[in-house]
């Protein structure tokens, strides 16, 4: 059982956005920068997520 967060951003994810656009960043165990939500999923489900659990739309 794992969780994947799919964000509808194009070619960018919460980790690479400026703090003015998105706010805080959650750093995963493998160094992936992602949305804070992934921290909640880790805690709530007692799992460890990686950068692969955070997907965004790729365009072009």
């Amino acid at each position: 059982m794992t969780s994947i967060k799919i964000d509808p951003y194009l070619n960018i994810d919460a980790g690479t956005m400026s703090p003015f656009e998105h706010g805080e960043v959650f750093v995963l165990d493998d160094g992936g920068e992602a949305d804070l939500d992934l921290g909640n999923y880790e805690r709530f489900n007692d799992i460890t997520l990686t950068r692969d659990n955070n997907i965004t739309t790729v365009y072009g």
């Binding site: 059982m1 509808p8 909640n40 999923y41 709530f44 489900n45 007692d46």
Partner: protein, 236 residues
């Protein structure tokens, strides 16, 4: 193309799939007694074929696996994928009948899946729950998905298998999380064998040393909710 069904039978092969290996027993008029082979699921067929040829008395014999459609199965295929219904072995111009069975408890993750390809695959079947709410925030998509995750994790925990026959002569499970789940899910709402040890079994210096308490056994897991509710409630 050789139709395997028209070839003379040259013996039989019983395949048993285990979790990590496949076991095959070959019976043939050319063998004094049946011969047993075992290969890892990740081994290729080729090694088995050459053994088979040697044991049937002719190392140069052409051994081939044929699918139900008549196609030759590559000898580089691994055992995990190769043994399916309808496959037969052709060895030196005669057919070896193949029967396949699974050992109880073997991984057969695709069982019950509508797709035949999935049923025969040894890979676990991934299932997805998608929670969508477009770009709207605060609907509870995350909470919904996470809560579903918690429920799935708890219900699939092997420790929560209903303990229909309590073991009065074995030590209670020392793992507190396991115990909590077992009590909650299998013995609710009746008295639990573990609770009868006292209010705090964690401080019992040697719970195994004491005789098991009298208690009514948990109802059978398939007894239904009525049987659970009919049991006497725990008294203080």
């Amino acid at each position: 193309m050789v139709d395997a069904a028209t070839l003379p039978s040259g013996g039989s092969l019983d395949i048993t799939r285990h979790e990590l290996h496949v076991e095959m027993q070959l019976s043939s008029p050319k063998l004094a007694k049946p011969r047993l082979y075992a290969f890892a699921l990740t081994d290729q067929l080729a090694a088995f074929f050459s053994e088979l040829a040697k044991d049937l008395g002719d190392p140069d014999m052409v051994v081939e696996m044929q699918s139900a459609s008549g196609a030759a199965v590559s000898p580089l295929m691994v055992h995990s994928f190769a043994w399916k219904a309808g496959r037969s072995i052709i060895a030196g111009g005669s057919r070896i009948d193949v029967a396949i069975s699974s050992e109880e408890g073997a991984v057969n993750a695709g069982e019950g899946c509508p797709s035949p390809r999935r049923r025969q695959s040894m890979r676990p079947v991934m299932k997805y729950v998608i929670v969508s709410g477009g770009v709207v925030s605060g609907l509870g998509k995350g909470v919904t998905a996470s809560s579903l995750g918690v429920l799935l994790k708890v219900t699939r925990r092997p420790h929560t298998r209903p303990r229909s026959q309590p073991h009065p002569h074995t030590c209670p499970d020392p793992h507190p999380f396991t115990r909590t789940l077992t009590l909650t899910l299998t013995c609710w709402p009746g008295p639990s064998p573990d609770l009868a040890h006292g209010p705090d079994p964690g401080h019992d210096p040697d719970p195994c040393a004491r005789p098991a308490p009298e208690h009514s056994p948990c109802p059978a897991p398939d007894a239904g909710p009525d049987a659970l509710l009919a049991r006497p409630r725990a008294t203080a």
